[in-house]
């Protein structure tokens, strides 16, 4: 399994290969806790190629609109050709950051998404990278064993265009729950 796809642009978090033992997807020893994130954290994951088959496959299951299903029908829509469902782009990005970061993080999921902008259509054959930065880190007031890291994720296509931005607070356990916030 290809796990170390992350290229940390600012190495505030050390990457030590080979010390994480994972059995299936259930036994994980997190590398990263709330304390490991700060507003100078950045990372990049990818590249990830998006195929025509998966665009149509996702659309058929979850978003069966002509612009995501059929090249000829899509040509007559505002998108001007076949493009991935925006939700598909979110899901592809989710998998990239899960594999790149969250599975190694004491993540407790996300309470929501502040905002997503779909800026450019994702076309068959597009190769995506996602760049992440952190806009805030705070300890939960009601539950001091955890906190929130707010990430700004930007998905780029291989033409260097911003295709999607996503702002998401991620709930993360503290390594030292008793420490002062």
């Amino acid at each position: 399994m290809q796990r170390c796809t992350a290229r940390l642009l600012t190495p505030t978090i050390g990457h030590v290969k080979g010390i994480i033992l994972r059995v299936g997807t259930t036994a994980t020893v997190p590398k990263y806790y709330l304390e490991d994130f700060s507003t100078d954290w950045t990372a990049e994951y990818g590249p990830r190629r998006v195929s025509r088959e998966e665009i149509i496959g996702f659309a058929a299951q979850f978003d069966p609109q002509p612009m995501h299903l059929d090249e000829e029908a899509a040509r007559h829509t505002m998108l001007g050709g076949l493009a991935a469902s925006g939700w598909h782009t979110c899901c592809i990005m989710m998998k990239m950051i899960a594999d790149g970061l969250l599975l190694d993080t004491a993540s407790m999921g996300a309470p929501g998404i502040d905002e997503v902008k779909w800026l450019k259509p994702i076309r068959p054959g597009d190769v995506l990278t996602v760049r992440g930065s952190v806009t805030s880190v705070r300890v939960s007031q009601s539950r001091p064993d955890r906190g929130f890291v707010t990430f700004l994720w930007v998905v780029f296509n291989d033409r260097g265009e911003k295709a999607m931005t996503l702002v998401c607070p991620q709930m993360v356990q503290r390594r030292h729950p008793g420490a002062a916030a």
Binding site: T26, D63, A110
Partner: protein
């Protein structure tokens, strides 16, 4: 689809229900969100969720599918009445997505959509943007998710 000009703030539609099975939850998670609490019953039991629960993206994908199916039924009914079907464009994005309660195995989620805002666009003549608050409610009447989605909708010819 009705024209942008025929849609009113406050318009509410019921989209139907979706039941989440363990198999579907795990299959979705394997492909898109492989965190242990979405993938494995034993790992989920030890997590703060307490049991296997669906990826938040899965709870939204189920909404999207029901929304598209609703649109297809609406268009078929309009066609049968001889009414014009307005074009629905893509979405520029969404905001304020909240995953309020976990969606567990066997939960039956009822989805709805209510128009909260309309805006004409200068950049796209002939189109407007409609904003809707979309919600999912479980079988106990608890809100499990909500977000404000948006989409381009064709304007009635001659109004733009």
């Amino acid at each position: 689809m009705r024209y942008f000009d025929d849609i009113d703030v406050g318009d509410r539609i019921a989209l139907g229900t979706h039941t989440f099975t363990a198999e579907d939850i795990k299959a979705f998670a394997r492909q898109y969100d492989p965190q242990p609490f979405h993938m494995d019953e034993a790992a989920a039991a030890k997590s703060h969720f307490g049991a296997l629960c669906a990826s938040g993206w899965h709870t939204i994908a189920a909404w999207m599918n029901l929304r598209v199916q609703y649109g297809k039924r609406e268009d078929a009914e309009r066609a049968a009445r001889g009414e014009v079907i307005a074009k629905l464009g893509p979405s520029p994005g969404f905001r304020e997505l909240k995953w309020i309660k976990p969606v567990y195995v066997g939960d039956v989620i009822t989805y709805a959509s209510e128009v909260v805002e309309k805006r004409v666009t200068k950049s796209r003549p002939g189109w407007g943007i409609v904003f809707a608050k979309n919600t999912g409610t479980n079988q106990n009447g608890e809100l499990v998710m909500s977000f404000i989605g948006s989409g381009f909708v064709e304007r009635r010819p001659g109004t733009a």
